[in-house]
Amino acid sequence: MEKRLILDNSLSRIILERIALQITENHGDMRDCAIIGMQPRGILLARKLLEIITRISGNKSILYGELDSTFYRDDFRQGDKMLVPNTIKIDFLIENKKIIMVDDVLYTGRSVRSSLNALGDFGRPRKIELMALIDRKFNRELPIQPDYVGEEVDTRTNDRVEVKWSEDKSTPEVWIITE
């Protein structure tokens, strides 16, 4: 097994600041926007991003939600692994909002597809954007591209990308693990 560090804590902090600036550049004071973290692994990232964007934009009441798409997945009952649903927390109307979906690693695009379907059942947003900390860009199985990317990486299918959060959940570290 080979482990390679591709983002350390200090670099990931800079990257998150950069993405937060890009988002506020596009959306100003974030008034019609909502940040939605994708369960389970996008949540810590989405919370961190919300914190930074709140600081940058000065808007203390940015809408924030957490979305689980387990019931919408297309690999239901195909593997040996049980799919365990996580909580959904979206207590506002997404109708006509600009949604920024946040996930840590964008790989085949299938979980983004199921999240889009899940989100569709909450209403019709004006726009949906996608933010991914890591984009494994040569492994896509669906025509899905992110709007905000932390770092693009070139990986093989037997590689695993692991996002590790520091104790205080403030900054992530990203490793590529080759079995």
């Binding site: 387990t70 019931f71 009952r77 195909q78 899940a118 059942d121 209403g123």
Partner: protein, 314 residues
């Protein structure tokens, strides 16, 4: 934490474990958020066909299962014995095998004979969910009752629950006793001696013949319907006398020094085992039970569907 059921069928509470029950509760919480939003449907079971086979009348259980299936996007067929070839003398196994030949994946069955669900699971190749078999078990009702108690009181362990009324003819009673005991509650049955089955104390329940004493003891009273249709002989002189001794009224609840929660699995005989006043009071969680029923049944269907790897599209 377990993330898979230990069983392939839901035949009764007896067959499932504490972990199974907790897993069903956790999953039902997820489905509760689904059924409370504008679009109440998820595409999870879109490749599954479910037959609802009812050899006995039912409103709540049947509608509840049907809604649960529809909200999971399963295909469903409904079948009731009165309008089918069963009246022409077809056996249970033949009926079900014919339905299965049309590629049905799961069967939800209610049947008047105790053990019918177990029998079906043994002799056919389908997944069976017991929606009530005679006076034996009604597992989804027990799960939704326990779920409602948990929601109301926060905890089931250590709570005192009295099951009141026609224990003898009730499948809800047996499933409830088993389920609540697995979750660590103390259970008491209360009713006229003629309607308490002999040897029920071997299940580890307390027996009380005095309603007031039972209510004084319990945190939750689950009031059962007098099942006149199953009573082949007279078990008590008149309904009026039953009501006077075992009917839950505002007056008896006010005579207690605490507020207890009132449940009823339905259908209610208003004015017999419970007065309208009590049934509609905010102490009663009867309609919460019905709401939880859909979420619990969605959870059961979902978790059982996950146990069908042989059926995967691959």
């Amino acid at each position: 934490m377990e993330d898979s059921l230990s069983v392939k069928h839901l035949l009764g509470i007896k067959e499932i474990s504490y972990e199974d029950i907790q897993l069903i509760f956790r999953t039902a919480d997820n489905f509760k958020t689904v059924i409370n939003r504008p679009i109440k449907r998820v595409p999870t079971l879109r490749d599954i066909t479910i037959a609802n086979i009812f050899f006995e009348n039912s409103t709540r259980t049947r509608v509840s299962f049907e809604l649960a299936e529809k909200r999971l996007t399963a295909d469903i067929v409904n079948f009731s014995s009165t309008s089918s070839s069963v009246t022409k003398g077809e056996t249970l196994i033949d009926t079900v095998n014919n339905i299965l030949a049309m590629k049905v994946d799961m069967v939800v069955m209610r049947h008047p004979a105790p053990g019918a669900a177990v029998f079906l699971a043994k002799h056919t190749k389908t997944q069976v969910i017991n929606a009530g078999d005679g006076t034996h078990e009604h597992p989804t009702q027990a799960l939704l009752d326990a779920c409602s108690i948990k929601e109301k009181l926060g905890e089931i362990e250590g709570k005192k629950i009295a099951i009141i009324g026609d224990i003898m003819h009730s499948r809800v009673a047996l499933s409830n006793i088993l389920c609540l005991q697995k979750l660590g509650a103390e259970v008491m049955v209360c009713g006229p001696a003629t309607l308490i089955p002999r040897h029920i104390e071997h299940l580890g329940v307390k027996i009380e013949y005095n309603l007031k004493k039972a209510l004084d003891w319990c945190d939750v009273a689950n009031v059962l319907r007098i099942q006149l249709e199953r009573q082949d002989i007279k078990y008590f002189p008149t309904l009026r006398e039953y009501t006077m001794q075992y009917g839950i009224s505002r007056r008896i609840l006010e005579s207690l020094d605490k507020e207890i929660t009132i449940m009823h699995p339905g259908p209610i005989n208003r004015g017999v085992e419970i007065t309208s006043e009590v049934a509609d009071h905010n102490q009663s969680i009867i309609l919460d039970q019905v709401e939880n029923g859909v979420a619990i049944r969605m959870a059961v269907l979902y978790l059982l569907a996950m146990k069908r790897p042989e059926n995967a599209i691959s």
